[in-house]
């Protein structure tokens, strides 16, 4: 039915020639999906510079082929220019699916593109599979209370955005080679109807990227106040990780939103996630359930977090965490 | 159970609940502690029109019936009975004017509450140092001099006395006639000779202001006389009759909170291997509280059923106030007992419920007075 639609595409989000993690992460699960249907995995690079290097990076992380579009008008992201490029490319090459990171940019671009090519989009996916030539897109709904498996069986290309941090990047293969296709697509300036006139950074640069951390010590309502993060920081330091937070703590103003894990924050996938004084609302769990090991420390033995955790200690975090920190330090 | 209201009224009750939860709840414990007057909080409530519920729409209010007003007061008192008292005290002063004033006076008074003339606060000034339950024994006088009355005297325990910009004042115009010599006046705060005396440092309802008001040769124009000369005592009693079920509604709010706090606590507190709510001694106490809640509400509703049917409602009003007031104190005491040591601690809200509930047996006619009223009907 869709014989002319072939190959899986991953959009490699980049700014000023630097790739965001999410695109490279996506090359990992989609590599397996492409192999399962004997199709090529194609990376799409759109930027104003260093596109050759971006393309090489994409290949190292698993792409068979890279389509590159370079131009001054792509220096900063705009809905109109980027939608135009992807639409033109999709019409020409007819991919069977396009995967986009569910970043602010991806969630701006994805639906605009879907409406233009009149196809189905599944947003914010947390798991991907292949069923009879169709991608099975799995995504949380109802604030993470419900998971849905979604198909787009009668339209091509299939579109989806995937949450950053859900998949891990493959080990880069320095010897991998691939084909790089340069496409010359210009978007006339009058077609770009939005203009960024100022960029303001309010998140301080010393805030670690919790999506990348291997160990996270996370605090919630039980932390009691901004000063409560002191003991968590010490544990994080001893373990070589970072602190994080639940929405309750962020909403209370104890810690910056950049640290928030969950449905309205970031999705993280560390090796160890230590949840301290976090009740374990489903919205929080949605952001950390892919951690390899979850350890919970909570006063309330009935707290939901114990249903999610691999290991839990019932107790006051202000008693437990300092002792744990000492024990960890002894071992180093 | 409780009030059966139409959609519009239910929306307003829901709004009151949201306001109480979002605006009052986070700050009431702190104001209870300090005794500071939460002017901003009241202004927020007034901006939304919660003090003008019963003022007819033609005078700038919302024209709601008393069932809806009571359901709103229950929501407020559930969170803080002191705040509710401050809001409801406007209504107390209003009732005299709405029932017995002329249209000009209604508009004039309403403008002070919700027409931008005042700050939204009004007060009802009846009680005097030597005339509480025995309201007829007052000493405040109003002497007619030409086109004016000159008022002299001192009122005490007046809710909203401090912030109010307008008062309804009861004064004797004819000493020889005792209670039949009373008249009611509208008096603005900014008239020469009006001053506010000491503020009471109260056991409970600490978000409300209670103070003395002193009238020292205060001249008011004759058109500030409400109704007729000599009818004031009757006006005061009618006003209180209509206001008493509102105390019942506030008591229902306190009882509801007692139940909520107890249920939440008793579900998670474990003794002898099970949550204490599973111990019959506690679940029966909760059942008794629920009986008192619904009976109080029913008494309030009954009073207004009589009122709207055009029947005498003084007895029903006294029953609603007396039963609700007593029940709220009983329930608050039981709530403390169920929470045990935590109930006695200021960390938990139930000890405040008792302090707030106690006034329900005292103000707007002590429960002894209510029993006099009721026995008067029974024994006649």
């Amino acid at each position: 039915m869709f014989e002319e639609y072939k190959n899986l595409w991953v959009y490699i989000e980049s700014s000023n020639g630097v790739a965001a993690n999410v695109g490279l992460e996506l090359l990992n699960p989609t590599r397996a999906l492409a192999d399962s249907v004997n199709e090529k995995l194609v990376a799409i690079v759109i930027d104003s510079k260093d596109t050759e290097a971006l393309a090489q990076t994409a290949i190292k992380y698993g792409a068979d082929e890279v389509i590159v579009v370079e131009g001054e008008e792509y220096a900063s992201y705009s809905t109109d220019a980027y939608t135009n490029v992807l639409n033109v490319l999709a019409e020409k090459y007819k991919p069977s699916a396009i995967f986009i990171g569910a970043t602010n940019r991806g969630r701006d671009l994805g639906p605009r593109l879907a409406a233009r090519v009149k196809t189905g989009l599944t947003a914010d996916c947390t798991s991907l599979a292949m069923d009879n030539g169709n991608i099975v897109w799995t995504r949380p709904a109802f604030g993470g209370n419900l998971m849905a498996n979604i198909l787009c069986p009668e339209h091509r290309p299939q579109l989806g955005t995937v949450r950053p941090g859900v998949f891990k990047k493959a080990e880069p293969d320095e010897h991998r080679v691939g084909n790089i296709i340069k496409e010359d697509i210009t978007t006339p300036l009058e077609m770009i109807r939005t203009k960024i006139v100022d960029i303001v950074t309010t998140v301080s640069s010393d805030v670690p990227n919790i999506e990348e951390a291997e160990i996270l010590v996370s605090g919630g309502a039980g932390v009691g106040g901004p000063e409560g993060y002191g003991v968590l920081k010490e544990l994080a330091l001893a373990m070589g990780g970072s602190i994080a937070a639940s929405r309750a703590a962020v909403d209370a103003g104890w810690i910056d939103h950049a640290y928030q894990v969950g449905q309205t924050g970031k999705t993280v996938g560390p090796k160890i996630y230590i949840a301290c004084g976090i009740s374990g609302a489903i919205q929080h769990v949605a952001g950390m359930s892919s951690a390899d090991v979850i350890i919970a420390i909570n006063k309330d033995p009935e707290a939901n977090i114990f249903k999610v955790a691999d290991y839990g200690i019932v107790g006051d975090l202000f008693e437990v965490v300092p002792i744990l920190t000492e024990e960890i330090k002894k071992r180093r | 159970m409780g009030y059966i209201l139409n959609e519009e009224s239910m929306d307003i009750v829901k709004l009151a609940r949201d306001f109480a939860e979002k605006e009052v709840k986070p700050v009431c414990a702190q104001y209870d502690e300090t005794g500071e007057f939460p002017m901003d909080l009241y202004q927020k409530a007034f901006d939304l029109g919660f003090h003008a519920l019963e003022i007819p729409e033609q005078f700038g209010g919302s024209g709601l019936d008393y069932y809806t007003c009571c359901a709103v007061y229950e929501e407020f008192a559930r969170i803080d009975a002191g705040f509710c008292t401050g809001v409801a005290a406007d209504g107390l002063a209003l009732k005299t004017v709405l029932m017995f004033g002329n249209d000009e006076q209604k508009q004039y008074f309403a403008d002070y509450i919700c027409g931008g003339k005042g700050n939204g606060f009004a007060a009802f000034a009846l009680t005097e140092p030597d005339a509480g339950s025995d309201a007829g024994a007052g000493k405040t006088v109003a002497q007619k001099v030409g086109d004016e009355y000159v008022i002299n005297g001192r009122k005490c325990f007046i809710t909203n006395a401090g912030p109010a910009q307008i008062y309804v004042v009861f004064a004797i115009t004819d000493k020889s006639k005792g209670a039949k010599g009373y008249s009611a006046f509208i008096v603005e705060r900014d008239r020469a000779g009006v001053s506010v005396g000491k503020e009471e440092n109260k056991m409970g309802i600490r978000l409300s202001n209670t103070a003395d008001v002193v009238f020292d040769d205060v001249h008011v124009p004759a058109d500030h006389l409400i109704g007729k000369e000599g009818k004031g005592y009757g006006y005061a009693m009618s006003t209180l009759d209509l206001a008493r079920p509102i105390i019942g509604a506030m008591a229902a709010g306190i009882i509801r909170r007692c139940i909520e706090e107890c249920v939440a606590y008793a579900k998670q507190r474990v003794t002898f291997g099970k949550p204490i709510i599973k111990h019959q001694v506690n679940s029966f106490k909760l059942a008794d509280m629920q009986i008192k809640l619904e009976t109080t509400r029913a008494a309030v509703i009954n009073c207004f059923n009589q009122y709207y049917a055009g029947k005498p409602y003084g007895e029903a009003a006294a029953i609603a106030k007396c039963y609700g007031g007593d029940s709220s104190v009983e329930c608050a005491l039981e709530a403390i007992q169920i929470l045990g040591g935590y109930g006695y601690s200021r960390e938990y809200p139930v000890e405040k419920l008792l302090r707030d509930a106690k006034i329900m047996q005292i103000y707007e006619g002590t429960n002894e007075i209510q029993r006099m009223v009721i026995s008067g009907y029974v024994c006649r």
């Binding site: 998971m147 203009k195 960024i196 960029i199 | 939304l48």
Partner: protein
């Protein structure tokens, strides 16, 4: 300045609990609310109206019960409300929904700004806004924290980014999707509640608008929900509760050691 705000009535997902025995959502007794992000969008719209004059219209697609959400909007500053309701719209996915909404907006008249919440808290897709913009062929700015409009029809949007915010300029007509703003949506006044109860809510059906019904409802929806399920919970948690915190930590460390986790 005429603004249209798209709103959705949603279950309050923060109130939803899971029955762990049956692994299903407990939806009974969960209140229906105006999608919180839509409430932020409406507040931004009403503030713009208060500043520049004009009207705010709210539009919702849904069953008759969704009138309650529209009434809520009327009580906090919306001037007019339309409910888009038709059996033919049932089962629409985001593409079909956005097409229906765009068709209705087109039929309702000219608007300077269309506003939507960033996403609905039940579906969490964040797709309908940008898709409407595409159907209407107007520019979009997503993740708006606030917005203003200049005399010459420029729209200045404060757009939230991962590291702060950007000021983005576009021109009317445009579509904005609004995130949690720095200000709280206003509370209705008692009088506004009463007025909202007395205002009519116009119900529009497919008959009232120009629409290609093959693009609406189930048949107009490219995505199909294959199955839904509650996320699996780990059933084998090891919960430690020793006499003292020290003993608990020791036990945890020894387990982690044994499993070579640390």
């Amino acid at each position: 300045m005429d603004i249209l705000v798209c709103v959705k009535q949603v279950p309050d997902t923060t109130e939803i609990k899971i029955n762990y025995e049956t692994n299903t959502l407990i939806r009974e007794g969960v209140p229906s609310i105006v999608n919180p992000f839509d409430a932020y969008a409406l507040e931004v719209a009403v503030r713009l109206k208060e500043k520049h004059g004009g009207t705010v219209t709210v539009l919702s697609m849904g069953p008759d019960q969704a009138k309650a959400a529209l009434k809520e909007c009327l009580s906090v500053g919306a001037d007019k409300a339309y409910l888009l309701s038709d059996r033919a719209f049932g089962g629409s996915d985001t593409l079909a929904t956005s097409y229906i909404l765009a068709s209705a907006i087109h039929s309702l008249g000219k608007f300077d700004l269309i506003m939507c919440g960033k996403q609905a808290i039940d579906g969490d897709t964040a797709q309908v806004g940008p898709e409407i913009a595409e159907h209407l062929d107007i520019p979009q700015v997503t993740y708006a924290l606030d917005a203003d409009v200049t005399e010459d029809g420029k729209v200045i949007v404060k757009k939230e980014t991962e590291t702060g915010y950007e000021m983005v300029e576009t021109q009317i007509p445009a579509l904005l999707t609004v995130v949690k703003t720095e200000f709280e949506p206003r509370m209705a006044s008692v009088k506004a509640k009463i007025a909202a109860n007395r205002k009519p809510i116009d119900v529009i059906t497919s008959q009232d608008i120009t629409i290609d019904l093959s693009r609406a409802g189930l048949k107009g929806s490219p995505t199909k929900v294959k199955k839904t399920y509650t996320p699996p919970m780990k059933g084998d948690s090891v919960v430690i509760k020793e006499e003292t915190a020290k003993e608990s930590v020791d036990k945890l460390i020894s387990i982690l050691d044994e499993k070579s986790i640390i």
